[in-house]
Every structure is written in C-alpha cells, then in structure tokens.
C-alpha cells in the first residue's frame, strides 16, 4: 500500500501547475497594480475598493438575482421531470435521461444562436404568433430571453442529480409510510422529498454557480447592455485590459461561491440529508 501512495505525486504536481499556480497569479494581479507586466508591480487594495462602487455592486446584485430566478425556475421544472422519469421502467429511464442530455452534446454557442433565430422579432416564434392571429412580441434583448436561454442550458444540471437520488431511494421506507397511514401528499412531502434533498442541493448549487458566472448567453440574448458579473470580468480582461481589476472581481466572485457552497453544505447536514449518513 505504501508504494501506491507515491503515485499521488504526479497529481500533486499537476494540480500545483494547473490549479494552484493560476490561482496564485490571479490573487497576485488582484492585489497589485502596474498593468499586465509583472515587472513594476506595487501592492494595493485599489481594485477591491473599486468593486465597492455602487455601479459595480449593482452589477453583482443583478447577477445574484438572475442566478436565483434561474435556479428557482430550473428547480420548478426539473424536479417534477426528474420525479416522473424515476417512476418509469428502467429501460425507459435510460432513454429519457439520454434525451435530457442530448442538448448538452451540442455547443452552447450554437444552441444560443438557435434561440436567437427563434426569438428574433421576425423569428420562428413571432411568425407562429402572427399566424395564430396574435400580434408580434419583443423577446430578444429582454429578461425573458436571457432567463429562457439560461434555464434551457442549465436544466440538465438540475434534473440529473435529483434523478440519481430518486432512483437510489429505499422504497421500503415509502411502503412503510403508506402502511402507517400516510396519504399521497404526506408520503411525498415527508419521505420522498426529504430523502431527495441532497440531490436537490447538488442541483441547486450547480445551476446557481453556473448561472451567476454566465456571460455568453446574457450577451447574445440580452445585448451588451445586459451586463453581469461575468461580462464585467470578460470586459476587463479582453477589452479594457485592466487585469488587476478583473482578477479582483474574479476573487470576489470565487469567495462568494465558496460561501454559498458552504451554506448549502450546512443546510444539507442540518436537514434530512444528515439522516442518511
């Protein structure tokens, strides 16, 4: 056994080079000034102070809001779907889960462009509305378009963990609850849902994290004025060239995400999920 331990070494080197080192660099950029060259750097908290300006705080809050909305909709759509899938025969389940993941085989960018041609003012959806006798509606460059794009993109991340938990559930517990006189809703609320909470939390965490750092979908479906934290970071790196500020925002975002994951874990271990372990 002892020799096998040494096989860890390559992975340690790997993660040092490709995970730790970039993180250190980002941190270094965040707390210094002097542009992109590391030659004449000076230590400063300026970049973090800049983030406290109301305009950037509002960008941050807007991203959080969008993340929450997307997560709620994904949960609302994803849970019933996962539940229904888990009720099917096993062979059918495999096919249905395959259908859920098929969109993920296609590049996000392509799917987003497909949404554009559907939602455009003269796009498919509007043509359909016109044909049915309704007037045209504006979809592109609105909240609706952005949320729709995000939900469509992230829904699998909600369904799959919930489905996994639901299929692995111990059915004798459900039967026991029924034997003891619980009605349909009580069985669902007190047994099934409670036991699926770990999956729900996994799904919520994943969708939320991906939603608050999204930038391509909001930019394409919401226009460049739909400015989120991800767009701010992209802008600082690619257009403005202020890597110091960009790094500072990235660090703040990373810290916020860390905090949220910890909160989720706490909920998980306090709640029903704790019973399992």
């Amino acid at each position: 056994m002892k020799q096998f331990k040494k096989l860890v070494v390559p992975y340690i080197i790997w993660s040092a080079v490709f995970v730790v080192f970039p993180l250190v660099l980002i941190f270094l950029y965040a707390v210094t000034t002097g542009g992109n060259s590391l030659v004449n750097i000076k230590f400063t908290w300026d970049s973090f102070q800049k983030m406290a300006e109301p305009i950037y705080v509002s960008v941050f809050l807007r991203s959080l809001k969008l993340g929450v909305i997307t997560t709620i909709i994904c949960l609302g759509l994803g849970y019933p779907l996962a539940y229904m899938i888990s009720k099917c025969r096993e062979q059918v389940q495999v096919i249905l889960i395959l259908f859920i993941t098929i969109p993920m085989w296609i590049n996000t960018l392509l799917r987003t462009y497909a949404w554009i041609s559907i939602l455009q003012d003269n796009g498919l959806l509007n043509s359909l509305l016109e044909w049915l006798g309704f007037g045209k509606l504006h979809f592109m460059y609105t909240d609706v378009a952005v949320v729709m794009g995000l939900v469509c993109d992230l829904l699998p991340f909600m369904i799959i963990p919930i489905h996994t938990v639901l299929t692995k559930m111990d059915h004798s517990l459900i039967e026991a609850a029924q034997d003891l006189g619980a009605d349909k809703w009580q069985v669902f609320g007190k047994v099934i849902f409670k036991m699926s909470i770990p999956g729900v939390l996994n799904g919520v965490t994943m969708v939320f994290l991906l939603a608050i750092s999204a930038f391509v979908i909001p930019k394409l479906l919401g226009g460049a004025q739909y400015f989120l934290i991800g767009n701010l970071i992209e802008d600082q790196f690619l257009n403005v060239g202020n890597w110091n500020f960009g790094s500072a925002i990235s660090i703040i975002l990373a810290l916020a995400i860390l905090l949220i994951i910890n909160l989720m874990r706490k909920v998980d271990s306090d709640g029903a999920g704790g019973d399992e372990e």
Binding site: K6, S58, Q120, G223, F227, N239, G241
Partner: protein
Amino acid sequence: MKRKWIGAAVLIMLCTGVLLGAAGCGGKDKPTLRIFNSGEYIEKSLLTKFEKKYDCKIVYETYDSNESMYTKLVSGSEYDILVPSDYMIERLIKEDYLQKIDWDKISNKDALIPALMDKEYEQGEKYSAYSVPYFWGSVGILYDTEVVDEEDLEQGWEILRNKKYAGNIYMYDSERDALMIALKSLGYSMNTENKEELDEAYEWLEKQRNTMDPVYVGDDVIDNMISGNKAMAVVYSGDGALIIADNDKLDFFEPKQGTNLWYDGIVITKYCEETELAHKFLNFLLEEDNALLNDEEIGYSSSVQSVFETMRDENYKGIDAYVPRTDYEKDEVFRYQKPDIKSYCADLWTKVKAQ
C-alpha cells in the same frame, strides 16, 4: 531510493510530454503565416487560394475589437499579420510592435487610392510606412425610411436621443465609437484628452441609456437590421452598404456634427519571420480580382481604386453608404490615446453598460 526513482519517472514523463507537444507544433515542412483579423473581414476562399498558390499554410484567427486584439498581443501571442484600425496602428507603431512595409515588394501598390497612401497621423508620419490600406469608411446612422422622419435627420447624432424613437435603436458596442457620438454631439473633438469633456460625454450616454432604452450590439446589428427589427442603428459605412443591399427600405446618413473617418490597414508584426511571404500575401490581396471578390463579401469601401469604382458604379449603385463623406471639416480620425486617458474612457464605457 525508491522516492527518487519515482520522482525521476514523473520528471521524464512531464518532459517527454512537453517535448512531444513542442515537436508536434514545431514540426512544419511548409512556411506558415499566422493571421489575426477582425471577424468577418476577409473572403475566406482567398486564404485557401493563397495557400495553394504559394504552397504555404495559413493559421487564421479572428478578434472582435481592436482592444481585444491588442490585449492578446500584449499578453504574449505572436502573429505575423494583423488588421488594426488607424489609432491602433499608431499605437502599435509607437510601442514598437510592427515592421516597416517594404513597398518595393508590393508590385500592385499603384492600384491603391493615392489619398489613402498619403494619409498621415502626425505631421510627416504616414500610416502607409507601416501598413497597407485595406478598407476605409465612416460611421453613421442607418435608418428605416418608413419609420424615421426625414426632418429629424437634421438633428444629427441627437436623433439618437429623440424620444420618438425610444426603444427603437441599436448602438454599437464599441468604447471609442460610443464616446465619439457623445463628444461630437456636444461639439467636442473625439480625440479630446480633457476629462471634463469626457465626463459630459458619459452623462450624454447615461441619459441616452435611461431615456431611450438602446440595445448595444456588435456584428449582430447586420442581421437585425436586415430583418428590420428596429428603426435606427449606428453602423460603419460599409456595414450600412451591405445591409441596404439586402433591405432597400433603409438609408444611411452621416450626421452634421461630424463623425469618425476610419482607415484599416494590414500590418506585419516584428515577430514575423516569413517577411517575403507576408509581403506576397499583402500584394495578393491588392490584385484586382481578389480585391473585388473580397469587397463583394465584406461591403466596405475598398482601398483599391478600380475596385472601389466598380463597386460604386455597379454592385452598390445608388447606395451612398458605400461612398464615405470626405473633406468635411468636422470629421476626424481617431488618434492614439495616452494610457491614462485610454483607461479612463474604458471605465466610462463600462459604467454606461453596467447601469
């Protein structure tokens, strides 16, 4: 002992990985040109044609703005050929990223429009010392003739703040062009280094954003305007010509307060080792057939005299967006900005978008 052995094994594995990777990239038998161009800014078939003709390989990448191209260059990416705009050419010259063009190697140089060859960014300093003119044009407003009143055009850039058209406007998502519109509208130079004037421009844009609900777009403006989604859009003249050719309800005008006259050139970077081949490529693009094919795809005003005339009199007959305004005293060319002014402007534009 054993630890050392494993350590050595890991080291060897990593090294061979690196070496193999390096060999994989470096293993070339054909000369290679690395071209970094703005998106949708060349007829792609010309690249394959050039590769075949000169038995070479072209590595082609695109960027979405001069700024992002510059950032990539500064962060260490090496290219042989770039296609920057006027102010960026000036910046790259001043920061020593370019090599001079050897005009003796470009036999088609007489085909170029003389005025473009003589364009100066400073007294006695010509762009053409370091760049071959590619396309040129202006910035103006593309409008739907069925929705926009001819009379309102008199307002120039202020039409973009005319509440009649609220929610019906595309702005171009470009820091310098957005500020240019505001500065020109306020009667200032678009190359101002006065922060108070820039602050006023910021307020102009902020107010526009709050009252007009504009959508900031990039190249997607082309599809959107062809479909006639909104009444007005700020566009480059060449995009205007291209769009009008597909949607004749639209027309283009250059506001009276003056606009940005731009010039894009092809430059060779100092990293380029295949200078012979690079010059051949520049010469190749100026050949009449190729330049015409290219312009039919791009739609901007060509730097090749004969192509410009053909397009003006045949392909784009009656579309005045193809013929940018010249010799108007209020029009300007973008100049290089000092780093502090540059980052000041970048911050202002970020703030407008982040509202």
